[in-house]
């Protein structure tokens, strides 16, 4: 290289060419070959201009500056009349195949003209300052009128920079600064809506503006955060790039990082920094102030453009629409910037070659604060670049996930529901294996492969044309459409074919092998209704959930975790490729405390008892009074929950809806009726807590009891009896007298202690609470508590209804001294791990030791009283019978009760309710007897429910 060649600032030119080259590569990657070639052509033009201007003499450059300025003004004016518009702005002049943006030319014109004016030492400062402001103001106003706020802002920044660099005295600059301070609050009102949105998005943060201007910043952050060191590092880069708006203009830096990696982005920033510094240093080499100002001004302009663009890309500055110099697409800007670099390189060359003309030492007038400004720009660029690196390091995984998430659309793959079994694993609710399956297709993906369409048509047994028509009939954004429902073997063939855009989804079928045995207790499943949606806010639409009974109660356990098949979509929402597939996770199994054998016995007995009473209800519960585990739970009438399908048996459902006796209600927990004489256990317990009649004192009774002119009859005339005898024979008069002696409060408080009128807490939805009135509550409800109300409360009538579950509960409490919470759920898990479900703790009765006379009465009822039917059981039991008048029943029908439990170490309480005359087969006693007999015969097996862990 000769002496002249050494005057070329090779470093600056190379730095510029590096940025240009990466920019062209980016445009090629994200916008295609055509646009890249176009940009390359502009780059060649710019380089040619650079080569020419580098060798031009300063006088030529002076002329060039004024020519640029003048032509820019002419074109800016012309834009208002013949300009082309886009996005609400008129900024371009259409030259056929090319468009020209005069405001970019104005940058070069203003730069060179201000350098001339401010560097002209022969004029007074006020003249130079005024002329500079005037010259800069004209293009600024014209640019603002387009409107092009970003270029206008850059021109303002350039002008301010030139004034400062040009050593304009503070007495001129500070008033301008003051005026700007005064005008700043009013600027917001002058912004256009889209400008306001951009600025507001920056102020609020992109997370607050996810669908407006913040979208672009979010996409830029995703692009940066998803990138690797040398490239995107992620699959589907091309698809992801489509989500980045303005990727070849305003967000070109983010696009470069996304396409070529962080190092490429760093190279862009580094090259820009080198260019800025070389331009700034060229100011030192210039012979005179005009050249030095031009160099320093261009350095600041390129630096500010780089900072604003990079900051906008990273969300650190408002996305001002400022393209990155030399990198972003834009012919005019590229040519002008390269030409400007050529000018400055020429200034430097002139300064070096004609150094003897330069003033030396302190007499040399140089632009001020060039190095300060360049250093500040350097700090900002390096800081921004570090932030970008940090974004990838800290938020990278999150941003990658966000990027994948936004281009993924997934459809659900329903998870199989868990099984419900009895305490020994006998299935009570399960799934139908080998049922039909739906074949679904992603139309856009499948149609892209005609061979696959033909093959799928063959596999599904339909004409290819028909299948193609089905796929083409839906909008291109359709995620999936069902194209066939096939038997399991045929569906397996489709799965095996692994056709693109095709999936097989099993159709959920729930089966209840026990049929009506536990219909109301188990409940059923179905597509979630608004009620379920409210209960489970995160439910996807169309999810199958438990809608009644245990299916509903333990839906969170039984319902699995749905899988999903994702599809990648472009920004228009059109599927372009199949995404990740996640297998569904089956729901956990639920093991109940029920013993299927006991359940069959109890249900059969109850059905027999109710056979002649089709419009009445029967209910029975057998629970372990030590733990609350429900071993059998019978309800008549009941229903076969298989009718809910799918497919649903509509006829059966319709018939069920109008069936008498509320078959869908689990009557043991959900029906409350007067407990009748079974309540005498509670009254007797109250006597032990609030002693009125000594238990062993015989109280005269008789055929009736009269109080206040009202006579209350005994169910049959009886003589004097103590407490146990009165319980054994269910002596009403004894309890009339005892109730009167106790008064309502003692009875009611004791009843509450034993859970009367309260939900038992069984794990079934919609448990009935029953009713336990008191003088106060009855009065509050508008009723009247008469003295007779107290009397009849003694025999379980009046303001009192209870569920069979409550009766069983207090019976067990009397026998064991502990009040338990009935539970149906025993454990959850799989064969590899069964974990016990939480058990509410039992309530220890503080007066348990005082209840022996009551227990004696229960036993006496069996050995020589109303429950003699149970006397032949192999284990001694105590029992209490009851017959209650029920206003909801005809006069010849009653609520007939029996509640019983072994007297020693009781492990079972059985309570049976039958509505009807209570005679013959309608008597509840046989049901209790049969169940006890079965239980005592299989007690060990029944309680052996397999290992269960307690977490």
């Amino acid at each position: 290289m000769g002496a002249r060649g050494r005057h070329l600032d090779v470093v600056a030119v190379l730095a510029a060419l590096v940025v240009v080259g990466i920019g062209v590569a980016n445009i090629w990657a994200v916008a295609g070959y055509g646009l890249a070639v176009r940009q390359a052509a502009f780059a060649l033009t710019g380089v040619a201009l650079l080569a020419v201007l580098w060798r031009a003499r300063l006088r030529v450059l002076t002329v060039l500056g004024w020519a640029c300025y003048a032509s820019a003004l002419v074109f800016l004016v012309a834009v208002r009349f013949v300009g082309s518009s886009a996005n609400g702005a008129t900024r371009w002049i259409d030259l056929g195949a090319l468009t020209f943006q005069p405001s970019e030319l104005a940058k070069l014109g203003v730069l060179l003209v201000l350098a001339q004016v401010l560097g002209a030492a022969e004029h007074a400062w006020w003249r130079r300052f005024a002329l500079a402001v005037l010259l800069a103001g004209v293009p600024i106003v014209l640019t603002l009128a387009q409107p092009d706020l970003s270029t206008c802002s850059l021109l303002v920044a350039l002008t301010v920079a030139m004034l400062v660099l040009g050593r304009v005295p503070a007495r001129f600059l500070l008033p301008v600064l003051g005026a700007a301070t005064l005008a700043a609050p009013m600027v917001v009102g002058l912004l256009r809506p889209y400008q306001l949105t951009r600025l507001g998005s920056f102020v609020a943060g992109s997370h607050e503006s996810a669908s407006d201007a913040g979208w672009a910043v979010t996409q830029a952050r995703i692009a940066v955060g998803s990138s690797g060191l040398f490239g995107a590092g992620q699959p589907l880069t091309d698809l992801r790039a489509q989500y980045l708006p303005e990727r070849h203009t305003d967000l070109a830096v983010a696009s470069v990082v996304e396409q070529f990696g962080l190092l490429a982005g760093a190279a862009v920033v580094l090259a820009a920094l080198v260019l800025v510094w070389r331009l700034a240093l060229a100011a030192r080499a210039a012979r005179g102030m005009p050249g030095a100002l031009a160099a320093a001004g261009l350095a600041v302009l390129v630096g500010v453009e780089s900072v604003v663009s990079l900051g906008g890309n990273l969300g650190l500055l408002p996305l001002a629409g400022v393209p990155f110099p030399l990198l972003s697409y834009g012919g005019t800007a590229l040519v002008v910037h390269l030409a400007a670099v050529g000018v400055v390189v020429g200034v430097r060359r002139d300064g070096i070659r004609r150094r003897l003309w330069a003033q030396a030492g302190s007499r040399a007038r140089r632009p001020r604060w060039v190095q300060v400004a360049t250093g500040f720009i350097t700090a900002l660029l390096l800081g921004f670049a570090s932030y970008g690196w940090q974004v990838r390091a800290t938020d990278g995984p999150t941003l990658v996930a966000a990027g994948v998430d936004q281009m993924s659309r997934c459809f659900r793959l329903p998870a199989p529901r868990g099984q419900i079994t009895d305490r020994h694993g006998a299935p009570l609710a399960t799934n139908v294996d080998g049922g039909p399956a739906k074949v679904i297709a992603v139309p856009a993906v499948l149609l892209a492969d005609p061979t696959a369409v033909t093959k799928l048509a063959t596999l599904t047994g339909q004409p290819a044309a028909a299948l193609r028509a089905t796929l083409a009939a839906v909008p291109p954004t359709t995620l999936a459409v069902p194209v066939a429902e096939l038997p399991a073997p045929a569906a397996a063939s489709v799965t095996k074919a692994a056709l693109p855009g095709v999936g097989v989804v099993a159709v959920a079928r729930r089966s209840y092998p026990a049929g009506a045995l536990l219909g109301s207790a188990l409940g059923f499943t179905g597509v979630a209704t608004p009620a379920e949606q409210q209960r489970w806010p995160a439910l996807p639409l169309g999810e199958v959930v438990g809608r009644a009974g245990l299916e509903q109660q333990y839906d969170a356990v039984l319902r699995g975790v749905d899988g999903e098949q994702c599809v990648y979509v472009n920004p228009l929402g059109q599927p372009v490729a199949m995404g990740p597939h996640t297998d569904p996770v089956p729901g956990a199994n639920l093991r109940l405390s029920l013993d299927l054998g006991m359940q069959r016995v109890l249900t059969a007995s109850l059905v027999t008892a109710m056979r002649s009473q089709p419009k009445r209800i029967g209910a029975a519960v057998a629970l372990d009074p030590r733990t609350g585990q429900v071993l059998a739970l019978a309800s008549v009438p009941n229903f076969d929950n298989n009718i809910y399908g799918p497919p649903a048996d509509n006829a059966a459902l319709s018939k069920l809806a109008s069936a008498p006796g509320s078959p869908m209600r689990e009557h043991s927990a959900q029906s409350a009726v007067p407990p009748g004489s079974t309540f005498k256990l509670v009254v007797a317990t109250a006597n032990q807590l609030h002693p009125r009649f000594p238990p062993d004192q015989a109280i005269p009774t008789g055929a009736s009891y009269t109080l206040g002119g009202h006579t209350f009859n005994n169910w049959k005339p009886m003589g004097p009896m103590d407490l146990a005898q009165a319980l054994a024979w269910s002596n009403d008069v004894y309890f009339y007298k005892l109730a009167t002696a106790l008064g309502p409060d003692a009875m009611i408080s004791t009843a509450r202690t034993l859970g009367v009128g309260q939900r038992a807490g069984i794990d079934l939805p919609s448990e009935a609470q029953g009713y336990l009135g008191s003088p106060a509550t009855v009065g509050e409800d508008g009723g009247t508590w008469y003295p007779g109300s107290t009397v009849i409360l003694g025999i379980g009538q009046g303001y009192l209804t209870t569920t069979p579950l409550q009766v069983a509960r207090w019976t067990g409490a009397v026998e064991t001294g502990r009040l338990v919470t009935p539970r149906l759920g025993l454990a959850t898990g799989t064969d590899h791990a069964w974990a016990a479900l939480p058990e509410p703790p039992a309530t220890q009765l503080p007066f348990a030791a005082a209840l022996q006379p009551v227990r004696d009465g229960l036993r006496a009822a069996v050995t020589g009283g109303t429950a003699g039917r149970l006397a032949d059981l192999p284990v001694p039991v105590g029992a209490k019978t009851g017959t209650a008048q029920d206003g909801a029943l005809p006069s010849d029908s009653y609520d007939n009760w029996v509640t019983a439990a072994p007297t020693q170490d009781p492990s079972l309480v059985v309570t049976v309710l039958t509505q009807g005359p209570g005679e013959g087969e309608n008597n509840p006693g046989p049901a209790a007897h049969d169940l006890f007999a079965y239980y005592f015969a299989h007690q060990a097996e029944i309680h052996d429910s397999g290992p269960v862990q307690r977490p």
Binding site: A3, R6, R57, L58, R59, A121, E122, A124, G178, T181, L182, P185, M186, V188, G189, L196, T197, G200, S201, F202, V203, A204, G205, E208, S209, A210, S211, D212, A213, G214, R287, I352, R354, R355, L356, W357, A358, Q359, A360, S362, R363, R535, D555, A556, V557, V561, V585, A588, G825, T828, G829, T830, D831, H832, A833, A835, L837, P838, Q949, P951
Partner: protein
């Protein structure tokens, strides 16, 4: 190229106007007595020499010394002030008074005056000693030229920087001067011949612009500013003038400070007036700005803290953790939660242990609540457990199950209540 002086308002400006239309005339063989001239010391003060200029000057300086020695009358040492540039840019070597020109210049006999470069050592042979003194002076000047041309400290014989081949040539030549001065001249001549005309033209233009015509017998120019036509003043004079004027106006530092403070007060007052008069409009604009920044489809949800993951969703043998409430839970009450831990099947039994983390989304505080553990038999793929949690009080809580064994992983959060804001 020509140079003209154009007086500006209140001061004198030097304006260089390059001209390519008028070629530089070849320097005359002998400059007229009235032609401007400049010595090397002043030239160094005026400008920074390019490597090419330094090379040409050095080459001509060596030639001048050789020419002098060829006459048999060495200078006995000389300094930068004895190296003169004529109006043609050519170098001549002289003592005060008579002139010894190199190249195309004529040589004038110099009386025995000694300049700053003169060595005080008494030679054994006066002629030889004078020749050696000339060599030392030449080496020192060439080293200075090379150093100045590359912005390096003046260190004779130091290695020249690589930035300039011309400077390298010049610097390397200094190492030859201990011996054959002719070899040094031969080394420099080719490059000097290549760039010599343009360099001499540049020097000539500068000399024409800065130097006064040399009058025979007059002293060299030592203050270029003083030589400017029109009585231009230097920066020091201008500064003195400014201070004098300011002193005349009575501007003290305190007064200047007061003026700036007053300007600031006025600005703040006007700003306050603006806010007072246009406050409503400004507030409306700012409200519009805030509103514009928020997404149009953004819901009116509360500002509860987002729930940050306390552990990865999958880790090691744990392929997923799922947490569900069995029923709607409320703060301050009991809540039954189903914890489903999915595992990579292994042929050994494993213990699965977990706890809960309750995040108060309003305060950001977290609370750890014990969970439990179960053992999964060999081959097990999952552990499903229903746990009971006493939910602490709070307006918007988030409960997360964190598995501790066999690997640390966390579920997604269950919000309690499901829809809540702070």
């Amino acid at each position: 190229m020509h140079v003209q002086y154009k007086p500006g308002p209140g001061r004198t400006r030097l304006r260089l106007r390059p001209s390519t239309s008028t070629p530089v005339a070849p320097p005359p063989a002998t400059p007229p007595p009235s032609s401007p001239r400049l010595n090397l010391r002043l030239l160094n003060r005026l400008t920074l020499l390019t490597p090419e200029q330094a090379l040409v000057i050095g080459a001509e300086l060596v030639d001048a010394v050789l020419a002098r020695h060829a006459t048999g009358v060495p200078l006995d040492g000389f300094g930068a002030e004895h190296v003169w540039f004529g109006a043609d840019g050519a170098v001549s070597l002289e003592r005060p008074g008579p002139v010894c020109a190199a190249g195309r210049s004529t040589t004038v006999e110099v009386p025995g005056q000694r300049g700053p470069g003169h060595t005080a050592k008494e030679p054994t042979s006066p002629e030889h000693a004078a020749t050696q003194a000339d060599l030392r002076s030449t080496r020192a000047l060439l080293a200075g030229l090379a150093a100045r041309a590359t912005h390096q400290p003046e260190r004779p014989g130091a290695e020249a920087p690589e930035v300039s081949g011309a400077a390298l040539d010049l610097a390397s030549v200094t190492t030859l001067l201990d011996g054959d001065l002719g070899a040094a001249a031969a080394r420099l001549r080719p490059t000097a011949a290549e760039v010599g005309p343009s360099v001499r033209a540049e020097l000539a233009a500068l000399i024409a612009a800065t130097a006064t015509p040399a009058q025979p017998g007059s002293a060299p120019v030592t203050r270029p500013d003083a030589a400017r036509p029109g009585g231009g003043r230097g920066p020091r004079d201008r500064l003195a003038g400014i201070l004098r004027r300011e002193a005349e106006r009575g501007w003290t530092a305190l007064a200047r400070l007061g003026r700036w403070a007053l300007a600031l007060v006025v600005l703040l007052a006007v700003l306050a007036l603006e806010v007072f008069l246009l406050g409503d409009r400004i507030s409306a604009d700012l409200a519009a700005l805030r509103a514009a920044g928020q997404s149009s489809d953004r819901g009116a949800g509360g500002a509860a803290e987002p729930v940050a993951a306390v552990a990865p969703r999958t880790e090691g043998a744990v392929t997923g953790v799922d947490l569900r409430a069995l029923a709607r839970c409320a703060p301050g009450g009991d809540c039954q939660l189903r914890v489903l831990v999915r595992l990579v099947p292994e042929p050994v039994a494993r213990r699965v242990q977990w706890h809960y983390v309750v995040l108060d989304r309003c305060s950001g505080s977290t609370q750890r609540v014990d969970g439990g553990s179960v053992t999964v038999a060999p081959g097990g793929r999952e552990a499903a457990v229903v746990g009971q949690l006493s939910v602490p009080a709070g307006r918007a809580l988030a409960v997360t199950a964190v598995v501790e064994e066999p690997a640390r992983a966390a579920s997604a959060a269950v919000l309690v209540p499901a829809e809540a804001g702070c």
